[in-house]
Symmetry: none
Subunit: 141 residues, 4 copies
């Protein structure tokens, strides 16, 4: 269930490197396992103190719903009360925007999620994807 | 971390003085440190009893997100469900309107925030700025 | 209802001065009104970031129950499940130890409470009393 | 405010290495900044899914109260209702046992905390100390 700490570290390091390469604002990156539990997290110097909760919320919703950030955002825009209700059952822990990226294994099974926050939602997602690909995994943004 | 109690007192007193000079309604002013924790607070006589939570919510969101009240309000207007979700992960403690003012040091690092409430959001922000400037600091409204 | 901001300031300043005179650890002092709402608060430099919540919890229980910290502590020691249940109905906001001091007017009516934290509970209460007396009020520890 | 991500990484890696050297069960290590906010976290393969919350709870109480795990445990043993009440005001986020280690700078100011969980509380604390010392910092267990 989930990914190894070794892979999680690679995802985080390479996501942060991508952020530096793209000259993004300081990023925070979390990796959750297939049960939605925290495997690893890093917050770059200069990032706001509350960024763990935002990164976590992006990834947590992805795992719990089996739906990546872009699809969650579309649902929130189409049917705001649904995502509000989802947040009710998940204790307010879901941030339904891009930057929450689902991790799948080669058979397509969800093995976890990555949450990135700090810049625009689209840039956050791009940094996450770079990290995921560097770890030899497939991400769904 | 954050600002000294001496500076916090100056910010509060001068914000309240500005409120009297502008003939605003009774104000309440909180100063939070760089971790979003309360350093000092005062509520003027005649202010409603619940004003601590409003002042705190304006400043707390600013620190936790690294985003001042005006930018939070814009985000709430553009993408209401996002700010609702943010409030979920922060325990409902964020009031995303002007009057939550970020404090930065000379290098631009966030060292805390001021939250003012009692009059219109714009007047609240003006009073906060007056207090912040009197303390020799820079505020981002 | 409650005390004036002027009196609250005096209580806080004189409590902190007493703490310096007694060479206590850095103190945090809150003044609540007769409804249990925050009137004013200050945290000395060097105090731990979470001290607002402790000071508040001492004073909040005193106002809500009409029972000062020493009496609350005795009740907690005699009947721990009762104070646990009290915390249930008050949202976990009560810290039942000395340092939560009830404020009464000349007729004995409760007009608020002071909460002090940072040193031993007894020293916290002594600092609170010094501030309360300096403001011409009567405290019940 | 707090420590750099570079130092946090060193603390985590060296704590985990110490755990392998001592042949402890899989460990989880969190580093919090001076405001109690997550800087970095890693959970070893084989650790239970809920270990983030335990590591966090050990470190969070240390920062918020300015009191390391050993002192918190003593207080919980002497005055159980007090630590229960403390958990009320901090939202149930405090785990008052060894393994929550305060980080201080050279002047003694708290700059964060490390939380380690997975083996016995004493072994957790030993692993944390090894990591902290490897980063050139001083820990208070």
């Amino acid at each position: 269930m989930g990914i190894s700490l070794r892979k999680a570290r690679t995802i985080i390091r390479k996501s942060l490197e991508k952020g530096r390469e793209m000259e993004l604002k300081p990023l925070s990156v979390v990796v959750l396992d297939a049960g939605g539990h925290v495997q690893a997290f890093e917050r770059e110097d200069g990032a706001a103190p509350g960024r763990f909760s935002i990164a976590h919320g992006k990834a947590y919703g992805a795992v719990m719903l089996g739906m990546a950030g872009t699809a969650q955002m579309k649902r929130a825009e189409d049917q705001a009360y649904f995502m509000a209700a989802v947040n009710g059952v998940y204790g307010g822990q879901v941030i339904p925007v891009p930057g929450g990226v689902l991790l799948r294994d080669k058979k397509g099974a969800v093995i976890g999620a990555v949450g990135v926050t700090g810049d625009t939602s689209d840039n956050d997602a791009a940094a996450a994807l770079a990290g995921i690909e560097a770890a030899g995994l497939t991400g769904e943004i």
